[in-house]
């Protein structure tokens, strides 16, 4: 495989998902910075055990010093993300809405997907949505070399062509067939409770599911007379 386009990944959030993405990214040869809120010393130990090789840094450094910023904080904390620090950055949103841990989020009702709610808070970020429809354990268990017969496919949606290409490349390097899902609005096709979210697909079948979702969304928009 070609060398990765992005070389330094900055992960915000040292939870299940953040450390899981960090492990896979380290394995793929990326330089990985990881941050929680506050003093990086607080997560030194977590990072050294859960994602050996990753570097605990401040959130500011994770955003500033990386080619791609990965958002893996609990979704209800999205307002704590710094719009100025993320302006112009390539940003990958891996977050999902879970009522049990996120509480009620009325602003979600106004967004087509949770990523669009995040984008509204970070209007100048170059945002993509991916890695949200795979379990954090599966990131490790299901990763395969390119060309493997049982390689799993993951969808990437973004309104920014360059960001989308960058994230597609990142997902490939993590060990998955990356499928271009189109604009960010298409991210609704792989949020919780969708067939894509609750299933596991190879490239062709994932493309099929994405097309089916797009067609259904189109039908909903069209007048029926």
């Amino acid at each position: 495989m070609s060398d990765p386009t992005a070389t330094t990944i900055g992960i915000l959030g040292a939870g299940k998902v953040g450390t899981g993405v960090a492990r896979q990214a380290i394995k793929a040869g990326y330089r990985v910075l990881i941050a929680a809120s506050g003093d990086p010393k607080k997560i030194d130990l977590i990072v050294s055990v859960m994602a050996p090789g990753a570097i605990a840094v401040s959130a500011q450094d994770a955003m500033e010093l990386s080619d791609l910023v990965v958002l893996s904080v609990p979704l209800h904390k999205f307002r704590t993300l710094d719009p100025a620090a993320l302006a112009g950055k390539h940003v990958l949103d891996t977050m999902n809405y879970w009522r049990d841990t996120n509480g009620d989020m009325p602003e979600l009702a106004e967004a087509r997907s949770s990523s669009e709610m995040v984008l509204a808070h970070l209007p100048q970020a170059r945002l993509a949505k991916s890695l949200n429809h795979i379990g954090y354990h599966e990131l490790e268990l299901d990763a395969r070399e390119a060309g493997a017969a049982d390689r799993r496919a993951l969808a990437v949606a973004s309104d920014d062509a360059e960001t989308r290409a960058l994230v597609l490349d990142f997902v490939e390097h993590l060990g998955f067939d990356a499928v271009d899902a189109g604009p960010l609005a298409q991210g609704a096709a792989f949020e919780p409770d969708t067939p894509i979210f609750t299933g596991s697909y190879n490239e062709a079948r994932l493309q099929g599911e994405l097309l089916a979702h797009a067609a259904a969304a189109q039908a909903e928009l069209s007048p029926t007379h």
Binding site: L45, D100, P192, T198
Partner: protein, 352 residues
């Protein structure tokens, strides 16, 4: 290695036979299981709280007290106390009482709960999810600490009236309650338990037996770093499974399927199927169903990954019939336990 069983008092309509067990009958069933678990030498009997129609246990304490009164040696504990929606002072009093009446066999496992029904029920705000838990676990441990030192406590927080030079009565046996923190695998929960110096138990509800290997490592490193003796702290695993001489894996499937179907539907998770079940009942998968030899081997394999001190099983998932649960408890004590004891040293004696 300590072995035990835990339950939420499932009263699901039996997905195989359609039978419906009443909550009253289930209470009697649970006590029968506690007596048998004690008789066959298991170490732990736990009941956890849910606040949903399919479960009869929302208040574990009176049932644990009844179980304690009918048993001799087995530890009795809350498989989870949803601390976020409790008053830690009252919880401490209840478990201190249970400890006294059971002769020091009471344990308290604190958690946030995997369901959230208790929040509206007790007027807690889900938006305070983390802050609530942080404050309450802090107070509970401070109460235990003041009990150990035989001192009064002065405390103030956000979610409960302040305590001014208060002494909480009664105190448990040896002035100490055994407290565990339950977690589903968030690294910061492990780090918190390590920093606080409590035992920790992982809810390994599927996936692979190795899922929490790094967490156990993190727990011990964190405890050492915080100045606790990590060898005196216990790591536990709570999991689902059923032991049987033949067909336990087949028997368990429709019940497991019922619960997992419900959870998948409710939360938008991947629905279960026979393939995912087979993967998890295979030797490295985290459903502990099978013959005594298979279950023992799987627990030993888990131990290779985690070095854990306690393994407890939820056997009555979605109302597995009482006769199958009783058989499973019997085999867990009489056959699985000796197989594991032969390979591993027995229980740690030191308290945290």
């Amino acid at each position: 290695m300590e072995l035990g069983v835990y339950s939420f008092g499932d009263v699901h309509q039996d997905p195989v036979t359609g039978a419906q067990v009443s909550p009253q009958q289930r209470m009697a069933d649970l006590l029968e299981r506690a007596r048998l678990a004690d008789d066959v030498g298991l170490d732990y009997f736990g009941l956890g709280e849910h606040h949903r129609p399919e479960y009869a246990i929302s208040a574990p304490i009176p049932m644990l007290a009844a179980a304690a009164a009918q048993t001799k040696n087995i530890k009795v504990g809350s498989a989870v106390t949803v601390l976020s929606t409790e008053d830690p002072v009252r919880v401490y009093q209840q478990f201190a009482t249970l400890d006294l009446l059971s002769g020091g066999r009471a344990e308290l496992t604190a958690g946030r709960g995997s369901f959230i029904e208790s929040y509206p029920l007790f007027g807690a705000d889900l938006n305070d999810y983390e802050e609530l838990y942080e404050e309450k676990i802090g107070l509970l441990l401070a109460l235990n600490e003041s009990g150990r030192k035989e001192e009064s406590i002065t405390w103030s927080g956000k979610f409960r009236p302040a305590l001014e030079d208060a002494t909480i009565y009664p105190r448990p046996v040896n002035n100490n309650l055994d407290i565990w923190i339950a977690t589903g695998g968030t690294p910061s929960s492990t780090a918190r338990a390590a920093a606080l110096g409590t035992n920790v138990i992982y809810a390994l509800l599927g996936g692979a037996v190795s899922n929490f290997a790094r967490h156990a490592q993190l727990f011990r490193a964190g405890a050492e770093q915080a100045g606790h003796d990590a060898t005196a702290l216990k790591v536990g695993v709570s999991a689902v499974g059923l032991v049987g001489k033949d067909n336990a894996t087949e028997t368990f499937y429709p019940y497991w399927r019922r619960v997992m179907d419900d959870i998948a539907r409710e939360r938008g998770f991947t629905p279960p199927n026979r393939i995912s079940y087979n993967m998890q009942t295979a030797p490295a998968g985290a459903i502990y169903a099978g013959t005594p030899e298979q279950v023992a081997e799987k627990i030993l394999l888990t131990h290779q990954h985690m070095g854990h001190d306690r393994h407890i099983l939820e056997m009555d998932f979605a109302s597995v019939p009482q006769k199958d649960v009783l058989k499973s408890i019997e085999l867990f004590g009489t056959e699985v336990k000796p197989l594991i004891d032969a390979e591993l040293p027995t229980t740690k004696k030191v308290n945290a």
